[in-house]
Symmetry: C2
């Protein structure tokens, strides 16, 4: 990853254009989808640092330079991989209210991020979103329609939720991983011998630990906060 420059115009066409009509010349041996799939497999295993044009090409039985006929560069390849890895958003659970919908939505997104650890790094900074990404966003706003929240607030909720899901995916190990030593074990080791410097942390770690509930905890607090706002809005509207 030493390429920070993205060809915005070409990336837009790659993300949003429909398959074009009849072309001249020999027919391509590869497809964008296949290239993205190959890249995802490599990045899932070895991260974005392990993702090289060379390896992608090898896994497709092509030369490295052949890829550049399809993709302008590595940055755009990662963007395509991200769009493919996120995929279509799942349908909202039937009969669920806004809270049930958002809860499910956040957990599904968390799962996507956990399955593709490189996705976190790939979603830093301003980006050109793809159709799938916008479809995920659309789901949140749809769930919040008729709750009394303004459009701004609906988008802010989306930002808040996607941030939480993404952040917690980095703390959690990928699903295939063995249990292994978690973050807090290392924290406890670090604190040993420094108890008087970090007394509150030491005390917090002394209490009984039962599994990792950070996703659930944060999600519950966020949804509680949103619920309080919606309730307040409804009360205002009725009384005003």
């Amino acid at each position: 990853m030493a390429t920070g420059d993205v060809d915005q115009r070409r990336l837009y066409e790659l993300l949003w254009s429909t398959p074009s009509g009849p072309r001249r010349g020999p027919r391509p041996t590869l497809t964008l989808a296949a290239i993205a799939r190959a890249g995802i497999a490599i990045a899932d295993a070895d991260g974005l640092d392990g993702l090289t044009m060379q390896r992608v090409a090898e896994s497709l039985d092509v030369t490295k330079m052949a890829l550049y006929r399809y993709v302008p560069g590595k940055a755009e390849l990662v963007a395509l991989m991200l769009e493919a890895a996120m995929g279509e958003p799942p349908p909202p659970p039937e009969g669920a209210d806004w809270r049930g919908q958002l809860d499910d939505w956040a957990r599904q997104l968390f799962d996507r991020f956990r399955r593709h650890p490189w996705a976190h790094a790939a979603t830093i900074g301003p980006r050109l979103p793809g159709p799938h990404e916008l479809a995920w966003l659309e789901r949140v706003v749809t769930a919040l329609t008729d709750t009394g929240l303004t459009g701004d607030e609906q988008l802010d909720v989306a930002v808040l939720l996607v941030g939480h899901a993404r952040n917690l995916a980095q703390h959690a190990a990928p699903p295939t991983d063995a249990p292994g030593p978690n973050q807090e074990a290392g924290l406890a080791a670090l604190l040993r011998g420094r108890e008087e410097r970090f007394p509150a942390l030491t005390a917090a770690l002394r209490s009984p630990r039962d599994g990792d509930h950070a996703l659930d905890f944060g999600l519950a607090r966020i949804l509680d906060g949103i619920q309080a706002l919606i309730t307040a809005r409804a009360t205002d509207a009725h009384s005003g």
Copy 2:
């Protein structure tokens, strides 16, 4: 950034060891702090991709390889930069309750992340935290002592807040930047001509936009949610 391997033992010594006693040989011309400072200046300007050992060395009037006498590699340099860039946590505002303390804490952290956009990428995945990072954590847990939350929950609150501050720093432009076109302007342009595909998003963007309040909004919801939990706990304790 093509170095994902970190020498954990040496990094621990670099982050946590005190300056050692008298040494033999010629005295070093550089200090770890000066190197980290130089790296921060470069990364602030051009990001982690613009940060090369060569450039850091040049800005210190040394050869590239001289840096490796102080730092095992680039990954460890970034870790040191992060520790220096975050700095000591600010003192809690006087007389503030837990909510006031956490609100101020989150905004201060947000500010640090906004000033150093590369810090987001530098904090992905499991890491060895430095003294400053643990001191920031300690502040949160201290603020939540005697609120009735368990140690687990106090840590979960910290994860939740740091995630929000960090996530929103990436949406906001660095403080020195001109206003410029924000994210939502690009979103509106993307939606043009696709209104029937993303009806809810289109509607949300049609409502009046007045500035970017995503940080405030999310922070308020999170703190509301925590407050609700604390209140419920207190009620349980009194009635049980």
